[in-house]
């Protein structure tokens, strides 16, 4: 969904997978959403095998596009693609501390001037001022 090109980074170069792993481990994101993301990859591969004869990653770009456009037709598929695209856009442009935007390649490609200061690992958003939800009394 974000192909690598000669003059611009793709999902691979920005380490989109690392970003997704961060979010799949983030404590604030609902388990339902994480399950939905994982299940979607399963549907994608099932459909790729059924219609194109192989796992999604092994297809050529034309076959991939056909599979994605098929998935887009169903409402669940559309929802999954939309969510995936949102995470992909975040992976491209969120602070590199979250694992994506590797070496600021997303910002550099789009000539984006980031603000400062940028977050450190111990100040990632889900570590800030976490409210206490549990009753800690015995």
């Amino acid at each position: 969904m974000l192909p690598s090109e000669k003059d611009s980074p793709g999902a691979r170069e920005i380490h989109a997978i690392d970003y997704l792993q961060t979010m799949l481990a983030a404590p604030d994101i609902e388990a339902e959403e994480k399950d939905f993301l994982r299940q979607g990859t399963q549907w994608l591969n099932d459909l790729a095998k059924k219609n194109q004869g192989d796992l999604f990653v092994r297809l050529n770009s034309e076959q991939k596009e056909t599979v994605l456009r098929t998935i887009e037709q169903s409402s669940a598929g559309n929802r999954w693609l939309s969510l995936m695209l949102t995470y992909l856009i975040e992976a491209l442009l969120a602070d590199p501390v979250y694992g994506g935007n590797y070496q600021q390649q997303g910002w550099t490609w789009l000539e984006h001037q980031a603000g400062f200061p940028t977050p450190t690992e111990n100040k990632m958003y889900y570590k800030l001022g976490q409210p206490v939800y549990r009753n800690t009394k015995a």
């Binding site: 969904m1 974000l2 192909p3 090109e5 611009s8 604030d28 596009e65 994605l68 887009e72 559309n78 693609l81 939309s82 695209l85 949102t86 992909l88 856009i89 975040e90 491209l92 442009l93 969120a94 602070d95 501390v97 979250y98 997303g106 910002w107 490609w109 789009l110 000539e111 984006h112 001037q113 980031a114 603000g115 400062f116 200061p117 940028t118 977050p119 450190t120 100040k123 990632m124 958003y125 889900y126 800030l128 001022g129 976490q130 409210p131 206490v132 939800y133 549990r134 009753n135 800690t136 009394k137």
Partner: protein, 558 residues
């Protein structure tokens, strides 16, 4: 009965800060109860996920939410829980409240705003009322806020300039973006008075706070230098340093208990461990932002207040205000500018800081005479990159990915600068905009959430459109392309006031002119809830000023 504190303040934002600061400085014991965490400059980064894409400074909607009542297509009021709609009405539940995240466009309201009914007459369907105090009574406190909060700017003479007791602002204006000079040139040729926008941002270090470092990310972000005049940076830190003020974060007040005489005896709250606690004090001050303030008082029933504190005449929660108007945009494609201008438009960091008040009041035959208008403010498109990229995620109802997405991204990021404007005009108070308690929707502590009916008056749209058309003229004069604007009755949830209007008559108001609840001897409200009408500017400076005014009244009482 022993009392824990002289004053208990509920809510730590712009309404609560001045009370805590002033009374602690005067040597009274103060506690501030804040629902959210206590973040500081060391926790604020230019992290778009933290500021704008996750619920970090506000509750998750499944834990705490609102029910928003809007007209459906059949013309009936229909309530929808925000956990379903995703329309988030929270604005910053942390120490310092939403003042941490404001842009800090600071305007005073003007003398005639205090007498809107007498000056401009009634409008059918609107509950317009004069204020029980005058501009002259509030003016010293607007001035005080300039120094205590740190407001930078430069007084520029214009037809609607309000009277000032000091010649100019205590801090010079913040640095300006190169595009501001182009706005000035365009306004000059149109005969408009472009004005430097006062900002609650320090342009030089003072009172232990650093000055602005011009990162270019301000609105929606917590300030990492302390330059932004949040209640926390400007007031609460100093209140705590006095040794007389305690700030208690993670303290969610769910009820004010009152006795058989009708006085408030305790603020009842859940602490960080969800244990119920009580604070007893002589005086209670509520400042939870308008919607939550009305909700808390409605939930605080007692022997003398069976319908909620201050609701014996069914006025509580009524006449809620947002800010009417809208916004617009014009594009400046770099390839249509000379190289030097294009490069100067790409600069990030300094502020646009330009506004127009030429139509704060205006005479137009389509309105049948003189009417109340409003304010226009110019700003660059917010630099948040994920938000910008999300704007090209869909095209004609279909998702965009692959190479087409990449071409769209490249264009939206590198080909134009967008100059935006925002219109602020009065959100007329009506019977269709109010707060009540929702039935069947509760927060994570089991309390009924606020239900908010968000009806607007059609007059607001007519005025907003008039102003947006003038702002579009400026963009056109500047040579902008693809100019468009949107004026609607959808409320901006971050500009909210009213619900406990102040007045002289208990039958038509909740608070007296001192912002004390009419029939409760020791309960005050100092956020934007007191405002019977909103003026046509963002509210924060007026909230600060009024809270300083009430602090003076309380100093003589405690």
């Amino acid at each position: 009965m022993s009392l824990d504190y002289d004053v208990c303040v509920i809510g730590s934002g712009a309404g609560g800060g001045p009370i805590a600061y002033e009374l602690a400085q005067a040597g009274h014991s103060v506690i501030v109860l804040e629902k959210g965490p206590w973040l500081t400059e060391k926790d604020f980064f230019k992290d778009e996920l933290a500021c704008c894409r996750r619920s970090v400074y506000t509750p998750k909607l499944k834990d705490e939410q609102h029910v928003i009542e809007d007209l459906d297509s059949q013309g009936h009021w229909h309530g929808e829980a925000t956990s379903k709609s995703g329309w988030d009405f929270w604005n910053g539940n942390v120490v310092g409240g939403s003042s941490n995240f404001m842009s800090g466009f600071f305007y005073r309201i003007k003398p005639r705003d205090f007498r809107l009914l007498s000056e401009f007459g009634p409008i059918p369907g609107a509950n317009i009322a004069d204020w029980p105090i005058s501009y002259e009574q509030l003016e010293p406190y607007y001035t005080k806020a300039e120094t205590e909060i740190g407001i930078s700017g430069h007084v520029h003479k214009h037809p609607f300039l309000e009277p000032r007791s000091s010649a100019d602002f205590p801090y010079p204006p913040t640095r300006e973006h190169p595009i501001s000079a182009h706005i000035d040139t365009a306004c000059q040729s149109l005969g408009y008075h472009s004005l430097p926008t006062p900002r609650a941002i320090l342009s030089r270090p003072d009172k232990g706070r650093r000055s602005c470092e011009y990162s270019g990310y301000c609105g929606s972000y917590g300030c990492s230098t302390g330059a932004k005049g949040s209640s926390r940076a400007a007031l609460l830190n100093r209140a705590v340093a006095s040794g007389h003020c305690t700030v208690q974060p993670h303290a969610k007040v769910y009820k004010l208990s009152s006795d058989t005489t009708g006085k408030v005896v305790s603020a009842d709250y859940y602490d960080a461990h969800n244990q119920a606690q009580k604070i007893r004090a002589k005086i209670f001050v509520v400042a939870c932002q308008a919607i939550e303030t009305s909700r808390l008082l409605l939930a605080s029933t007692g022997p003398k207040h069976p319908h909620g504190l201050g609701n014996n005449y069914q006025q509580l929660g009524k006449n809620l205000l947002f800010s009417a108007g809208g916004s617009g945009t014009g594009e400046f494609p770099y390839d249509q500018l000379d190289k030097a201008t294009a490069e100067s438009f790409k600069v990030r960091g300094p502020f646009v800081n330009r506004g127009l008040q030429d139509w704060y009041y205006f005479n137009d035959k389509s309105f049948g005479g003189e009417v109340k208008g409003g304010t226009i403010d110019f700003l660059l498109r917010h630099p948040n990159p994920i938000a910008k990229a999300m704007s090209v995620k869909w095209h004609d109802g279909k998702l965009v990915w692959g190479k087409p997405l990449k071409r769209q991204l490249k264009a939206v990021f590198t080909e134009t600068q967008d100059l935006r404007f925002e219109v602020f005009n009065d959100w007329l108070p009506t019977d269709n905009c109010f707060v009540s308690l929702a039935t069947g929707v509760k927060d994570r502590w089991g309390s009924a959430v606020a239900k908010v009916r968000i009806g607007y008056h059609p007059h607001d749209l007519k005025v907003g459109r008039y102003l947006a058309d003038r702002a579009e003229q400026v963009l056109k004069q500047m040579g902008a392309k693809n100019i468009r604007s949107n004026v609607s009755g959808a409320p901006p949830q971050n500009l909210v006031a009213g619900g406990c209007r102040f007045g002289n008559d208990i039958r038509s108001s909740v608070l007296d002119k001192d912002c004390k609840v009419h029939d409760v001897d020791n309960l005050y409200v100092t956020d934007g809830s007191f405002m019977p009408t909103g003026g046509s500017v963002p509210y924060t400076w007026t909230i600060y000023a009024n809270s300083f005014r009430v602090a003076d009244i309380l100093k003589n009482r405690v």
